[in-house]
Amino acid sequence: MKTLSELFVKTKAENRAALIGYMPAGFPTKEECIMTIKAMVAGGVDAIEIGYPYSDPVMDGPIIQAAAELSLANGTNAEDVFDILQATVEMGVPAVVMTYWNPIERFGVKEFAAEIIKRGGSGVITPDLTVEESIGWKEACEISGINRIYVVAPSTTDERLPKVVTQCSGFVYAASLMGVTGTRTSVSGNAKSLVARVKAITATPVSVGLGVSTKEQAAEVAQYADGVIVGSAFIKQLQESSSIGEGLAKVENLAKELSAGVRR
């Protein structure tokens, strides 16, 4: 199973939500990043978002900021991101890149989309690209045949929501709350109503991200969403471990718990 649409057909048939895990490329190192993704997949993560570490991550909280800073200090570049994407796809799960816009523009918009498909990736999540600025990107993704995934927020108005949602393929990324990435003690009540609003307009699957970190939260979100996205909680396992071995075991454990959670 290599594409997002295949994944959501399968999870729907199994009457559950998909578990999507986020990991910044090159964190803690290139090899250990791939090992971490392997542990996530072994624990039951269904699809992977590979973060392109960026110098000015305005949508990220302290956990992802610290991970990106370390990765950049290691010298992670576009080639490394694509290598990790390819390694993930070879594990047999759909993989997408999540990136701030400037690295795409710098790499070349058409070239970036072409490289994604060449490495077996499904698509790209662009959290700071507005649909208004997407003309070139839309064309590039159509040429390469990859999914374009935009983020919608609780503050997105009813008037605007269709404009964004109709541009999405693969899934719609629903930000559960107004804020930056990070773990939270509870899932915002806004998430459920946002998902309902999106589902009223589109048949494209909807995944909820931002602040989901526990089995209970995953189970709660899986009641109404097609996918549950977890990022900071995985990174934290590595940041709080004294060895990579310990970190990998904790990551796999967390994946197992979350994976039980999404099976309602």
């Binding site: 523009e105 507005t130 503050s155």
Partner: protein
Amino acid sequence: MIEDFLGHFGPYGGRFVPEALINALDELTAAHESAKNDPVFQSELSELHRTYTGRPSIITEVKRFAEHAGGARIFLKREDLNHTGSHKINNVLGQALLTKRMGKKRIIAETGAGQHGVASATAAALMGLECVVYMGEDDTKRQSLNVARMKLLGAQVVPVTQGSRTLKDAINEAMRDWVTNVETTHYLLGTVAGPHPFPTMVRDFHRVIGVEARAQMLQDIGRLPDAVLACVGGGSNAIGIFHPFIDDKNVRLIGLEAGGSGIASGKHASTISGGTPGVLHGTRTYVLQDENGQTVESHSISAGLDYPGVGPEHAYLHDIGRAEYRSITDAEAMNAFKILCETEGIIPAIETAHALAGAMDIGKELGKDAVLLLNLSGRGDKDVQTAAEYFGIPL
């Protein structure tokens, strides 16, 4: 008007922000548009400028300084005499009034030199708003006097320890706060960068500089200047004085960027002279970046110019050839700083000293008959410590 309704200046500008902010940006655009055409708002703002800011600011001809600039006639637009000591107050009062108009009670701001933070804290005190200022930790050290001023004015100052610990990281942290608290909070951005409508709106609030100066030149000497000069960090004081002259095709518009140790050294903040087009902080413009699209740290002795981006309208004015941008090193700026102090009894901000150094070059190029108008964007009280260290004056 050269920008389109989405805030584009040719290929530059626009909005590259999380979807969560779009609604607030739309609301702000609408508030700005309606205020622009509302005589009540406009008269409230100009009355504040007359009775609080101290507008119109005067023009001073600096004859002794001009001897170091090839003998050209040089006129300073004295934004340093504004309340709080710089041009920043023009934009801040405008946005603070808009904040009230939108029914918000809390403002957040980023600051580099601390001038924008001080101006924001001042407006918040005046209008009864809560104020939080984000400032890179390095900048809190080199501009400690302004940190104290903000605290005296009742603002909370948050030192930012991420990244390069300067202005760009303060903006990142302010954006994170804004995404989280957008319903109650207005982000009072201090320059003509950021997503639409900031570049347009902040420019509109600073146009008063150029509008006044143009009329003052006509009245004082009966002609327009040959060149208008300003330092460029994000570009707000520069666009404020440039904009009313854009249609005066014979008036050269010259922006002076911070050259740090020189563009060739890689340690500079000359975004247009030494950068490439890209996206930073929500807008497409010139950016200091590496081949992977990562922002490169800027370097300047001046905290207020130490920024790896620039307003998108400047990027456009550069590309179409309407404005020119040059780079001034730390050493050149400090030389001009000292000369202005000693020849005219005016201590400029180190930011502004970059424009003064530019005037020394351009005056020599244009010769005795030339008339230069320079935006003296701020006073140097905040820089006394840095300057004393630079010139070896014991404190």
